[in-house]
């Protein structure tokens, strides 16, 4: 069996979950295994409705009052129980914050490898080769399971699979799962999620974004950028390290913890292109990078790679634009 775990994101199915279903359909075919889709805990009705449109052999619905709201305690216990029962060859999820929060615990409970954060998979003869980024996206590494190990938990980065390739259809069976959870299993209580800033910055609909990375070095260089974006009519965005350094406000963060954007042009200035940033902007129609490092990861996804010093190029651009 291949088990795909769907995730709720504020009342909707998480977009990574659709990609996980595509992964599941591919794995089920390659390994000639049954495909089973699991709606777990939070908001199962919505997930169930979504999943009823995907082709699968089995749709498992696991509801319990102790997992009606996500906690790592409840979810890890519940999924662990289901894995113990169903014994899936691969358990697959999108590499979301929640997956990262509780799948390692399932890995311990079931003594299964959790091979996470994967960008691709290839099937070669008898071997399945997984691939993930290391050293802040500078390199990729292949990962293989020890030949004696047959089962694993996997999580895939966004865009590892194309969500439009999902095979539509319906589940052959829908089964309600009985869970044996006790009050004492859950030692965590959660408050309501909230949005940190009530700023009116909305980069998600901007058509031209200029984002600064660590290369901007200091707060003192922000006015130079502000002048530039004003001249080209763009919105200013930021990478995580720049927010962490207090140079830019979090309300302008592009990344998995901030905005996901898809402008006509994304201009990344002094920004290396770590995965948390790239997942949120690679949907941009065109990408241009300005970086002194010819091997900067951002150039791998760029249409235009400007190799040079931002402190020379940006003022020159501003000058030329305001002259014309």
């Amino acid at each position: 069996m291949i088990l795909v775990v769907l995730e709720n994101q504020r009342g909707k199915i998480h977009s990574f979950s659709r990609e996980a279903v595509v992964a599941g359909q591919i794995f089920a075919k390659k390994y000639d295994e049954e495909l089973c889709i699991l709606c777990l805990g939070e908001n199962v009705e919505v997930l169930k409705e979504e999943a009823s449109e995907f082709e699968s052999d089995k749709l498992l619905v696991a509801e319990h009052e102790l997992i009606s709201q996500y906690t790592s305690d409840g979810f890890s216990k519940a999924l662990s129980e289901i894995i113990a029962q169903e014994s899936p060859r691969f358990t697959i999820m999108g590499h979301t914050y929640i997956a990262r929060d509780f799948l390692p615990r399932v890995s311990v409970k079931q003594d299964l490898p959790f091979i996470g954060d994967l960008t691709s998979v290839s099937f070669e003869d008898e071997k399945t080769i997984f691939c993930k980024q290391v050293f802040n996206a500078k390199f990729l590494t292949n990962i293989e399971m020890d030949p004696s190990i047959e089962k694993a938990i996997l999580s895939f980065q966004s865009a590892a699979f194309d969500k439009d390739k999902i095979i539509k259809g319906s589940p052959k069976n829908i089964i309600d799962v009985k869970l044996n959870l006790k009050d004492s299993d859950v030692r965590i209580t959660s408050e309501e999620a909230f949005k940190e800033s009530d700023s009116d910055v909305d980069l998600s609909s901007a058509n031209f974004i200029v984002s600064v990375g660590r290369g901007i070095e200091s707060e003192d260089n922000i006015p130079m950028m502000e002048k530039f974006v004003e001249n080209v009519g763009a919105d200013l965005g930021s990478s995580r390290p720049v927010v962490d350094m207090g140079i830019m406000p979090k309300s302008r963060l592009v990344g998995s913890s901030g905005f996901t954007v898809s402008p006509d042009l994304y201009l990344a200035v002094g920004l290396s292109g770590a995965i948390q940033h790239v997942v949120a902007m690679k949907g941009s129609k065109k990408i241009m990078g300005i970086n002194t490092d010819r091997d900067a990861p951002i150039f791998e996804i760029a249409d235009y790679a400007v190799v040079g010093d931002l402190f020379e190029i940006i003022p020159e651009l501003t000058k030329k634009l305001s002259d014309s």
């Binding site: 906690t71 790592s72 305690d73 890890s76 914050y97 990262r100 929060d101 390692p104 615990r105 890995s107 490898p113 996470g116 954060d117 080769i129 993930k132 290391v134 050293f135 802040n136 500078k138 390199f139 990729l140 590494t141 292949n142 399971m145 020890d146 190990i149 694993a152 030692r187 965590i188 209580t189 959660s190 408050e191 309501e192 999620a193 909230f194 949005k195 940190e196 058509n207 031209f208 080209v232 009519g233 763009a234 390290p241 207090g246 998995s256 913890s257 905005f259 091997d295 990861p297 150039f299 791998e300 760029a302 249409d303 235009y304 790679a305 400007v306 040079g308 190029i313 651009l317 030329k320």
Partner: protein, 255 residues
């Protein structure tokens, strides 16, 4: 309160190269620094100790080669950690679960109330260690912490969620928590700190258990460019003219 900060030495060079066996980077001549996320974890632990002001203890722990481990543990002690533990290990472990099992076995007897760890390491970047260790040791776990508050036998953790959302959760101690960057301003070691670090206890442990790896890195490589990338190089004048030409004529973003 007994707080462990798990940290890792990370190679720091401008241009990393893959080693000859293509299984790791060539780290024969590189400098090591404390993993950046861990500096926030250490700071958070020190802030809690200072706030509680009740003889709490912060213990910096690492597993790795002797020299780089000594270096980052000394740094942690200089910043204010009370003692250090080095789990000596020269072999590359790329199965996060094996790493966590060894680590857990070595620190189990310490019975920490809290374990802090950076969200992910710069090298492997699995981001699993704190959760795995927490589960192995029967602790509650949380990831992506961007704020903490101790409430007697509980800890409240402000978690970063996706897309700009946050959430407070309350969990019982003992707890193992991974710390997101940016939640505090990691301090620099003071001169006094550096001097006093020399007299602090550092326990060196050796690994006596053997766990077989269920997964492992098999081959490093440089990512292939997925796009037809046009490289624009040259002097500032030419580069700027070219960029303006693209903005104006190719993409029609400016008039």
């Amino acid at each position: 309160m007994k707080i462990a900060v798990l940290t890792k030495a990370i190679p720091k060079v401008d241009s990393l190269k893959i080693n000859s066996s293509e299984t790791w980077i060539d780290d024969s001549n590189v400098k090591f620094v404390m993993n950046e996320h861990d500096t926030y974890a250490l700071e958070e632990a020190l802030l809690i100790k200072e706030e509680l002001d009740n003889n709490s203890e912060v213990v910096a722990i690492t597993m790795g080669a002797q020299k780089s481990s000594n270096q980052i543990i000394s740094e942690a002690l200089a910043k204010g950690a009370d003692r250090g533990i080095i789990i000596e290990n020269d072999t590359k472990i790329t199965d996060p679960l094996v790493f966590a099992k060894i680590f857990s076995e070595q620190i189990r007897e310490e019975k920490f109330d809290l374990i802090f760890c950076g969200l992910a390491s710069y090298d492997l970047g699995s981001g699993q260690t704190s959760v795995l260790i927490g589960e192995i040791l029967g602790m509650t776990t949380a990831t992506f912490a961007i704020g903490t508050k101790i409430e007697s036998s509980h800890i409240k953790v402000k978690k970063e969620l996706e897309s700009g959302y946050s959430q407070w959760i309350r969990m019982s101690l003992p707890a193992s928590i991974s710390i997101q960057s940016g939640l505090n301003n990691p301090r620099y070691p003071s001169l006094k700190g550096i001097m006093s670090a020399k007299s602090k206890e550092v326990k060196v442990k050796t690994i006596d258990s053997n766990f077989s790896e269920m997964q492992g890195f098999t081959k490093f490589f440089v990512p292939k460019n997925e796009k037809q990338t046009e490289y624009i190089e040259g002097d500032v004048e030419d580069v700027s003219n070219k960029i303006i030409d693209i903005l104006k004529n190719e993409l029609k973003l400016i008039a």
